[in-house]
Symmetry: C2
Subunit: 185 residues, 2 copies
DNA sequence: GTCTATACGAAGATAGAC
DNA sequence: GTCTATCTTCGTATAGAC
């Protein structure tokens, strides 16, 4: 089905170019469909398309988290950072997170922005729940989960700017140690 | 002088809208100068203007850091987070960091991207140097400094998406504690 | 040196032919 | 239901009048 291809292509373009530079025209061309088709599939226009692209990416990450967190918070966090490492390094440091792309550009796209907020909240909630299950008290678990999500996203930004994977590795190392000590406590 | 106003206005627009949605036309209008003037002051076009806006913001942060770090790394980090808290909360959660804005949008703006990389490196280096002075070993100091910069930038993104200051506060709390323990060690 | 006017392309969105 | 053609607006950049 070409609808899925359009959304996936939009997510990919969001990763690289950001929201404003992702044109519906080019998304359509990349998916091999005419411009009119995108407005048939997505009558809400760019806002709807961007929102679906964000949800697609967010759900993928959530599924990986859900699976890996069964082996405990440490494994979940490791997988989370590994995901971002693959995105950044696998795209020559020219791609990042589509959720961030939507969040940092003020535009008239309320549905997409809401999807971005939901994505961050969902990831944090998954991590926090796992930490709680392993003995971290609720408030601290939420704080640590927010730190992991925020630091990972920030790390991706730093890696893109500096065209190297070092920031992500440094941040992953520090957070892995911090979480290990928090769970142990 | 209007040149400074143009750069400051560009930085402000970058914060809110991102790189691609910041048009030279509107920057000129906002500064009260005709479009042609901007190309007189900035013959390198948008790339040069964005690069100067990034450097202006980066230098401001560096100066604050330089001053506050004299009272030790804890005070420097506190001031760093306070800066971002003011930017985010003072703009109704609709503004962020112009350096991030440039870093996350792949565009043909090499000078601006280089300025963004320099900004992140400079802030990290300042923090790392202060940590070293207070007994943290070099490699660890660099790792912690990268974490602080990345986590703060990520926190700003989360705050914008969720339209609230909580992520920044949570992350600042965790990092303050982590740094205190690292310096003490 | 400052600014007006404009060239040229691409954006979001829609109307309406097939 | 699919797609072409087009409307309108805005982008970067420049030429050339004052």
């Amino acid at each position: 089905m070409s609808r899925q291809q359009i959304v996936a292509g939009a997510a990919d373009m969001l990763r690289r170019r950001g929201l404003n530079a992702t044109s519906i025209r080019e998304v359509a061309k990349h998916a091999g469909t005419p411009l009119g088709s995108t407005y048939h599939y997505f009558p809400g226009g760019k806002d709807q398309l961007a929102a679906e692209a964000v949800r697609l990416s967010a759900d993928f990450v959530s599924k990986v988290l859900d699976q890996q967190l069964r082996q405990g918070p440490a494994e979940g966090v490791r997988a989370f950072f590994e995901l971002w490492r693959e995105v950044v390094a696998g795209n020559d440091f020219k791609a990042g997170c589509p959720v961030v792309a939507v969040a940092v550009e003020e535009a008239d796209h309320p549905e997409a922005l809401a999807a971005a907020a939901d994505a961050f909240r969902a990831w944090s909630a998954q991590l926090a729940a796992s930490l709680e299950e392993h003995g971290v008290e609720p408030q601290r678990a939420a704080q640590l989960a927010t730190l992991v999500v925020g630091a990972a996203e920030g790390a991706v930004v730093l890696c893109r700017a500096q065209r190297g994977i070092e920031p992500l590795e440094a941040i992953a190392t520090e957070l892995t140690a911090l979480l290990a000590s928090a769970v142990r406590t």
